[in-house]
């Protein structure tokens, strides 16, 4: 019996078609895995099911009836519970209040605290959470908050449970606990849709897998009849080696001059690839003198004792589960958060107390949340690109107004070299697609010739074509002598792009993987267990 059917659903945001005639179904008593890269449309589909979004065309059929006037409220009423990666908890209320958020049990209109606590306890136990229900939710670590979300979803006795990266911050034992709950639900005839970037988990728990790519369903496979490679191939739609550029030391001649600051053409990418295949596995580049090195970098409450050496020509990755302090490291190196520890630039002690000082030291930062820290979204592409390059567009430094001619040349040049799709330099940044926004966020630093480039989640939520362009651009920049540091929650990206990955766990670097040790499997194992997994096995 089919519990939920998504039928030929399409959805666009600001002219970007995110879903195109997507159809799939979930049977009663089944666990369906929804697989796809970031930006493939998974979250949008789930939003349609949970009533957060409405489809432009097509329909969602639940329990035999097409859903009309759908809303999160209605969805919850008919038995759809969901746990999202982005938490919906109210950090200021207690765990018990959060578990029953929006449907607090009341007596004669009054919600009694002891009632809440008493009824929350069995739910918390079921998800393996041993906390006082009267604790404020915001005081719990991220993983435990995620389990509170699960308890909250279970409180409404769901017939369909949606787990959207619901295990991203959990350790092995906690993940097992979640899967026990999933098995119980399945045994009781309920259905589960699970989204996770950990392929192993999906294969362990699901009955069928539906693969989404660029907003379309590629295929739905029975778990028994498929394997990792098959699914990955469907997800990416092309070979991995085509997506990522060759690594440091694999290309004969590094690129010099202006060319390094542009996204390479298709021919250039092809010749790079050919060159890499001819060069028989060259040894890794000998570690040069680091431009920037950090010793004992500590941001209270976020990361502790992190050592990093950023060398010209190398792309270093910061891996690990979400929220293990990667962001704090980047923000500290850009002077955005207070930190302690020793930082040296070209071997000389340096203090990075503000972004201003970091920029003066030729450090550039492309943040995770482009809309807040990366771009002025309400302003034009022109304004965004010239703001970080005022030295270039005001000839006599600070004393003159902006030279419109110089500004226009700068903007046109960057738009062309970065292949930013704009209607014109006056288009507002918020009207661009995610990928083009990211290109602007990157392009604005290029004219100042940064020596260190810090990027957080550089390809989150952008399409695969732009991803490829950005990977090749980053490699070109590295080849021209820039030291690059990238954080990413996408293990495939770290493995494909980086020369070395430092794995972080609870604020500390627990493992460093490079060369043949840098595989997705080892990276995931080190991320999840928080131990050195690369060398001891």
């Amino acid at each position: 019996m089919t519990l939920l059917a998504v039928e030929r659903v399409s959805k666009s945001f600001a002219g970007n078609r995110v879903l195109n005639e997507v159809s799939f179904d979930v049977r009663a008593g089944e666990v369906l895995a929804l697989v796809g890269e970031n930006g493939a449309g998974k979250s949008t589909v789930l939003g349609l099911i949970t009533g957060l979004l409405a489809p432009d065309s097509g329909r969602v059929v639940y329990d035999g009836d097409p859903v009309t006037s759908w809303s999160p409220h209605r969805a919850r009423e008919v038995g759809i519970g969901s746990v999202h990666q982005e938490l919906s908890l109210n950090p200021h209320q207690t765990v018990a209040e959060n578990v029953f958020l929006g449907q607090w049990p009341s007596r004669r209109g009054f919600v009694l605290r002891r009632d809440l606590a008493r009824r929350a306890r069995p739910l918390l136990e079921r998800v393996g959470l041993d906390v006082d229900p009267m604790t404020r939710a915001g005081r719990l670590p991220l993983g435990r908050q995620q389990l509170v979300e699960l308890a909250k979803a279970l409180a409404s006795k769901p017939r369909l449970l949606i787990l959207d990266e619901a295990t991203s911050a959990l350790d092995d034992d906690q993940v097992k606990g979640v899967f026990t709950v999933v098995d119980e639900l399945r045994a009781a005839g309920s259905s589960v849709i699970i989204v996770s970037h950990r392929m192993g988990e999906l294969f362990a728990v699901s009955d069928r897998l539906t693969v989404l790519k660029d907003g379309e369903v590629m295929a739905t496979r029975e778990r028994a009849e498929t394997g990792h490679d098959d699914i990955v191939h469907l997800m990416i739609g092309r070979e991995l080696s085509d997506l990522f550029p060759p690594k440091a030391g694999e290309v004969a001649a590094p690129v010099e001059g202006e060319d390094a600051l542009a996204i390479p053409s298709e021919e250039a990418i092809a010749s790079d690839k050919a060159a890499a295949e001819e060069t028989p596995a060259a040894p890794p580049v000998p570690a040069g003198r680091p431009v920037l090195s950090a010793r004992g970098l500590t941001v209270p409450g976020a990361c502790a004792d992190v050592d990093l050496d950023l060398e010209p020509g190398r792309i270093i990755g910061l891996g690990g589960l979400q929220g293990q302090g990667q962001r704090a490291v980047l923000r500290a190196l850009f002077g955005l958060v207070k930190h302690t520890g020793r930082i040296e630039l070209d071997g000389r002690p340096a203090r990075l107390a503000s972004p201003r000082e970091a920029i003066r030291s030729k450090i550039a930062y492309v943040p995770e949340d482009r809309k807040v820290e990366g771009l002025h979204v309400a302003q034009t592409v022109r304004a965004n690109l010239s703001l970080t390059n005022l030295d270039v567009v005001t000839p006599a430094r600070r004393l003159t107004t902006v030279d419109r001619g110089a500004e226009a040349r700068l903007v046109d040049d960057l738009v062309e070299r970065m292949r930013i799709k704009v209607t014109g330099p006056d288009q507002e940044a918020r009207r661009l697609s995610g990928g083009n926004q990211q290109k602007v966020a990157l392009a604005r630093w290029l004219p100042s010739r940064p020596r260190v480039l810090l990027l957080a989640e550089p390809t989150r939520g952008i399409d695969v074509g732009t991803k490829r362009e950005i990977y090749h651009l980053l490699r070109r920049l590295a080849d021209s002598g820039v030291a690059v540091l990238v954080t990413s929650g996408d293990t495939m990206e770290l493995v494909g792009l980086c020369d070395e990955v430092a794995v972080m766990y609870e604020g500390a670097v627990v493992d460093r993987l490079a060369g043949a040790d840098l595989t997705e499997e080892r990276l995931v194992r080190a991320s999840v267990t928080g131990t050195e997994a690369g060398t001891n096995v």
Binding site: L52, P72, E97
Partner: protein, 314 residues
């Protein structure tokens, strides 16, 4: 156990700090006014402070839902004018009219914020002009008349009871009850994480409208109180209450971002601001310097409080 103790202390740090500040102020106050703790004095002072305390409670209600109300002063004056104009025909009817007016202005703010998606600061700023004008139409010159028996009972005690104190206690009890209803929990949930509340099936729009309307009721009560205290109405008297109510809420630890704050702290903070104003009056300083001092004291108090209760964030 110590975890629980520190938890309880943290939860009540605002109230405890304000209480300590209150003791200091009262000590200073009794230096100038030796009869401070007599029933007559308490009655008069509570009558004087009631409007600000209720106004601050209204402001806090809106702020808890993540909004702000700049029309508070105008609505207070509107309620006062309606009550003063109609009081001679019967106080109960006049009171009901004034409350209905204030609650509907609040609901109107709420509808504009919730359904039109307009920023609260803009909606309520515009509303402050609108209701300011309407109030002048209702009562062009200061006037109206509140029955003197009521005025006397309110300001000088009724059978030895301080009526304003009773009102404040009653409203606090009412708030405590509201806080434990589903609406009360929804109010904190919407203020703390609006998207999360929506995704959890809470009718966030209705909650916001109800919050603004409830704030209107508090402000209406404040206007009625002010009319009874002064015995008449004045369309232009409301303005200072807007900013004072925000100051009291902030001093009480109500977050500008919503979802955090306790009403009893707001009551204490409003009381503190009232006492401070009186105290500065006693010092005989020029009114100009009184204003400067009042501003400085507020900034210091809020800064100290912010540093003391700041939580470590990433």
């Amino acid at each position: 156990m110590s975890e629980r103790l520190t938890g309880a202390l943290r939860g009540n740090l605002d109230v405890a700090g304000l209480g300590a500040l209150l003791v200091v102020l009262l000590a200073a106050y009794s230096h100038y006014d030796s009869e401070l703790f007599t029933p007559a004095s308490i009655t008069i002072l509570s009558a004087q402070f009631l409007p600000l305390i209720l106004a601050a409670m209204g402001q806090s209600t809106v702020m808890l839902a993540g909004g702000i109300d700049l029309s508070l002063g105008s609505v207070l004056a509107l309620a006062m004018a309606v009550f003063a104009v109609r009081a001679e025909d019967g106080v109960v009817v006049a009171g009901a009219l004034a409350l209905a007016a204030a609650a509907s202005t609040g609901a109107a703010n709420g509808v504009l914020v919730a359904y039109a998606g307009l920023p609260p600061i803009i909606v309520t700023l515009a509303a402050s002009f609108l209701w300011g004008g309407v109030t002048l139409v209702v009562l062009p010159q200061p006037g109206g008349h509140v029955p003197s028996g009521l005025v006397d009972a309110y300001n000088n005690g009724w059978n030895g009871l301080a009526l304003p104190v009773l009102v404040i206690v009653a409203v606090l009890v009412l708030w405590k009850a509201v806080r434990t209803t589903r609406f009360g929990l929804s109010l904190y949930a919407v203020g703390g994480n609006e998207h999360g509340a929506y995704a959890s099936g809470i009718g966030t729009r209705k909650v916001k409208i109800a919050a603004y309307a409830l704030a209107g009721v508090f402000v209406g009560l404040a206007g009625i109180g002010l009319a009874i205290q002064t015995g008449s109405g004045d369309a232009t008297i409301g303005a200072p209450y807007t900013l004072n109510s925000i100051a009291a809420s902030v001093l009480a630890g109500v977050s500008f971002f919503g979802g955090v704050g306790q009403m009893r702290a707001t009551v204490l903070a409003a009381l503190l601001i009232g006492l401070l104003t009186n105290l500065l009056l006693f010092t005989g300083l020029s009114p100009f310097y009184q204003l400067i001092l009042q501003g400085a004291v507020l900034i210091v108090a809020i800064a100290v409080k912010t540093f003391a209760t700041r939580e470590r964030t990433d």
